[in-house]
C-alpha cells in the first residue's frame, strides 16, 4: 500500500516522484532526456567560460589582444546543432503528449466538481463523495471535470496528470493506476484563500474492495450527528466554520443553534435556517460576514444536510435523541449519506460499467 510520507520515497528519484500511473514513464523519459542533455550543455558552457577566464586573464592594462575573425563554421555549427536537438525534443514531447492525453474507450467515468476549496467526486450510480475518491486498480479511470466557481487545476504528481477545471466547460484527465495506494491530489490553479488546502486523496483499491465501497459507502448506518461531523471534516466546512466558537470566515457552529438572525426568513438559527444556509447561502447573510459561501446544492445529500443540522445541535448541547441514534425511519431522507442509489438493489459501478 503506497502512501508518500518522505522525500526519499521508494520509487522516487531526486527530481521526480514515484510513477503511479501507466503513462508516467513516457513523460519521465522525455523529462530525463532533456535534463541530461541540458546538464551536459550547461557544463560545456561553464567549462568554456572558466577556461577562457583563466587562459586569457588580463595581465597588464597595456594588453591589446589580436583581433579574432569570425569563423562561419563555428557560427553555423552552433546554429544547426541546437536546432536539431530541440526538434528531437519537440517531437518526442509531442508524441508523449498525444499518447498520454487520449483516454481509452473502456475508461470508467467519474465526474469531478471543483469548488472553493473542495473536490467532489460523483460516481456513475449517483453516489457523491468529497475529499476522497476510491478507484479500482488496473482500470483506466476518466475524470470529467468542471468547476462551480473559479478556475481550478487537477494535479496528481505521481500520475503526471494535470488539467485546469473550468466553470461551464468540461475538461478531462485519465489515468490507470497499476498498484494500490493513496495518492495526493492538489489544486495548481490559484483559486483564493484556501488554494493550498484544496487537496483530495485518490485511494486505489482492488476491484472487489471498490465494489463493496460503492455498495456500502463509508458513513452508512451512522447517527446523523456523526454524519454531520464527517461532512464538517471532509466537505470543506471546517475551512470557514470553527466548532470551538472562534470566528473565522464564517460564523462558528459553537453557540450557533438558536442564535437570533434578525431579518432572516426564520428569525433564528433553526433546522430550516440551516438547510437554507447550506443550499442557498446568499439568501441571508449574517451581519458581519461576507457572501462568500458556495451553494452545496447537489454536493451534499439530504441526509448529509440533516446530519450537519444534527451536528450543530450536538455542538450546542441541544441534541435530540434522533440526532445521536441510528435513524431507522424516513427512507426519503435516505439512511445512507450519498443518497438512494447506493441501496443494494442498485447495481454499482464496475459490473454494469464494463
Amino acid at each position: 500500500m503506497y502512501e508518500r510520507t518522505r522525500f526519499w520515497e521508494e520509487g522516487a528519484s531526486f527530481l521526480l516522484p514515484p510513477q503511479g500511473s501507466t503513462t508516467a514513464h513516457e513523460i519521465d523519459a522525455v523529462f530525463w532526456f532533456i535534463t541530461i542533455a541540458s546538464t551536459i550543455l550547461t557544463i560545456l558552457v561553464t567549462i568554456a567560460m572558466v577556461y577562457f577566464i583563466v587562459k586569457y586573464r588580463r595581465k597588464s592594462h597595456a594588453d591589446r589582444p589580436v583581433l579574432v575573425h569570425e569563423s562561419k563554421w563555428l557560427e553555423v555549427s552552433w546554429i544547426v546543432i541546437p536546432t536539431l536537438l530541440v526538434l528531437v525534443v519537440f517531437f518526442w514531447g509531442f508524441r508523449a503528449y498525444v499518447s498520454t492525453s487520449i483516454p481509452p474507450d473502456d475508461a470508467y467515468e467519474i465526474s469531478v466538481k471543483g469548488q472553493k476549496w473542495l473536490w467532489t467526486f460523483e460516481y456513475p450510480n449517483g453516489f457523491v463523495s468529497s475529499g476522497e475518491v476510491v478507484v479500482p486498480v488496473g482500470q483506466p479511470i476518466r475524470f470529467t471535470m468542471t468547476s462551480q466557481d473559479v478556475l481550478h487545476s487537477f494535479f496528481v504528481p505521481e500520475f503526471r496528470i494535470k488539467n485546469d477545471v473550468i466553470p461551464n466547460r468540461y475538461s478531462t484527465v485519465w489515468f490507470e493506476a497499476p498498484r494500490e495506494g493513496i495518492y495526493q491530489v492538489v489544486c495548481t490553479e490559484y483559486c483564493g484563500k484556501d488554494h493550498s488546502h484544496m487537496g483530495a486523496h485518490i485511494r486505489v483499491v482492488s476491484r472487489s474492495e471498490f465494489n463493496d465501497y460503492l455498495r456500502n459507502p463509508p458513513g452508512a448506518n451512522l447517527p446523523p450527528a456523526e454524519i454531520g461531523a464527517q461532512v464538517w471534516e471532509t466537505s470543506g466546512c471546517r475551512a470557514c466554520h470553527s466548532i470551538d466558537g472562534s470566528t473565522s470566515t464564517g460564523p462558528s457552529w459553537q453557540g450557533d443553534w438558536g442564535a437570533a438572525r434578525p431579518g432572516s426568513t426564520q428569525g433564528t438559527v433553526n433546522d430550516e435556517y440551516i438547510h437554507q444556509s447550506i443550499l442557498e447561502p446568499g439568501a441571508y447573510i449574517t451581519p458581519g460576514f461576507q457572501n462568500v459561501m458556495p451553494s452545496f446544492q447537489g454536493v451534499l445529500t439530504d441526509a448529509q444536510v440533516n446530519g450537519v443540522a444534527a451536528y450543530i445541535r450536538v455542538l450546542n448541547g441541544a441534541a435530540t435523541a434522533a440526532d445521536t441514534t441510528m435513524a431507522e425511519e424516513a427512507p426519503e431522507t435516505g439512511a445512507v449519506p450519498g443518497a438512494g442509489p447506493a441501496d443494494p438493489s442498485q447495481p454499482a459501478g464496475l459490473e454494469t460499467g464494463n
Binding site: 467515468e109 465526474s111 449517483g126 461551464n168 466547460r169 447537489g298 442509489p341
Partner: protein, 202 residues
C-alpha cells in the same frame, strides 16, 4: 578611414527625399472619396439585397463585406494618408501592425476552433450541452408521458456518464407535476444527480 560618405547615410536610406512632402491633387482626393462612397453604397446594397432574399450570398456575404472594407481601408491609407508617397519605414510600421494583428487572431483561432480535438465535449459550454439534452428530452416528452424518469436521463448525460442509471430521485423532482412540456427545461436543475452541469454558474 573617415567614412565621410556614411555621414548622412541614416537620413538618406530612410526617406525618399522630399517625397514626405507630397501634395495630393484635388482630383486625386475627390476620386478617392468617390470610390469610398461607391464602395459603401455597394456593400450596404448587398446587405439589404441579401436580407430581402433578392441576392442570397450565403457563406460569401462575410468575406465579400470584409473584402470591400479592406479595399476602402487601403484607399484611405494609400491616398488620404499618403502612404503611397511616404517613406518605407512608415509603410512598414503600418503593415507590421496589421501582420501582428493577424498573428494574434489566427493563433487564438487555433485554440477556439479546435478544442474538440481530443474531447468532443470540451468544445461545447456546459449550458449548451444542457440546453441540447433538455431540448431532446422536451421533444420526446411531447409524445410520451413526462413522469417517466427515463426521459430525464438525456442522451448527452449518457454520453458523459456511460454507466448512468435512470435516477430514482427523478420521480421526486418538482418538474413533472407541472405541464408536460415544461418538464424538459427544468429537468437538469431538478435532478442534481443527473448531471453536475446543472450546478454551474452563480
Amino acid at each position: 578611414m573617415a567614412h565621410t560618405d556614411d555621414a548622412h547615410a541614416p537620413t538618406h536610406e530612410e526617406h525618399t527625399g522630399h517625397g514626405a512632402h507630397h501634395v495630393n491633387s484635388r482630383a486625386l482626393l475627390l476620386r478617392t472619396f468617390g470610390g469610398l462612397v461607391g464602395l459603401t453604397i455597394l456593400t450596404v446594397g448587398l446587405a439589404f439585397a441579401e436580407r430581402a432574399g433578392v441576392l442570397p450570398l450565403g457563406g460569401l456575404s462575410v468575406p465579400v463585406a470584409l473584402a470591400i472594407a479592406g479595399v476602402k481601408a487601403t484607399l484611405v491609407a494609400l491616398y488620404f494618408m499618403g502612404l503611397k508617397y511616404d517613406s518605407r519605414t512608415n509603410a512598414l510600421a503600418f503593415v507590421g501592425a496589421i501582420v501582428f494583428l493577424a498573428i494574434f487572431l489566427s493563433f487564438t483561432f487555433l485554440d477556439t476552433l479546435f478544442r474538440d480535438t481530443f474531447e468532443p465535449m470540451s468544445a461545447v459550454p456546459v449550458d449548451v450541452i444542457r440546453a441540447e439534452s433538455a431540448a431532446l428530452a422536451a421533444r420526446d416528452s411531447l409524445f410520451d408521458d413526462a413522469t417517466n424518469p427515463a426521459s430525464l436521463v438525456t442522451p448527452t448525460d449518457t454520453l458523459l456518464f456511460p454507466n448512468a442509471q435512470t435516477d430514482p430521485t427523478g420521480a421526486a423532482a418538482p418538474a413533472p407535476v407541472a405541464a408536460p412540456d415544461a418538464a424538459a427545461p427544468v429537468a437538469p436543475e431538478a435532478v442534481p444527480a443527473a448531471t453536475d452541469a446543472g450546478e454551474v454558474g452563480g
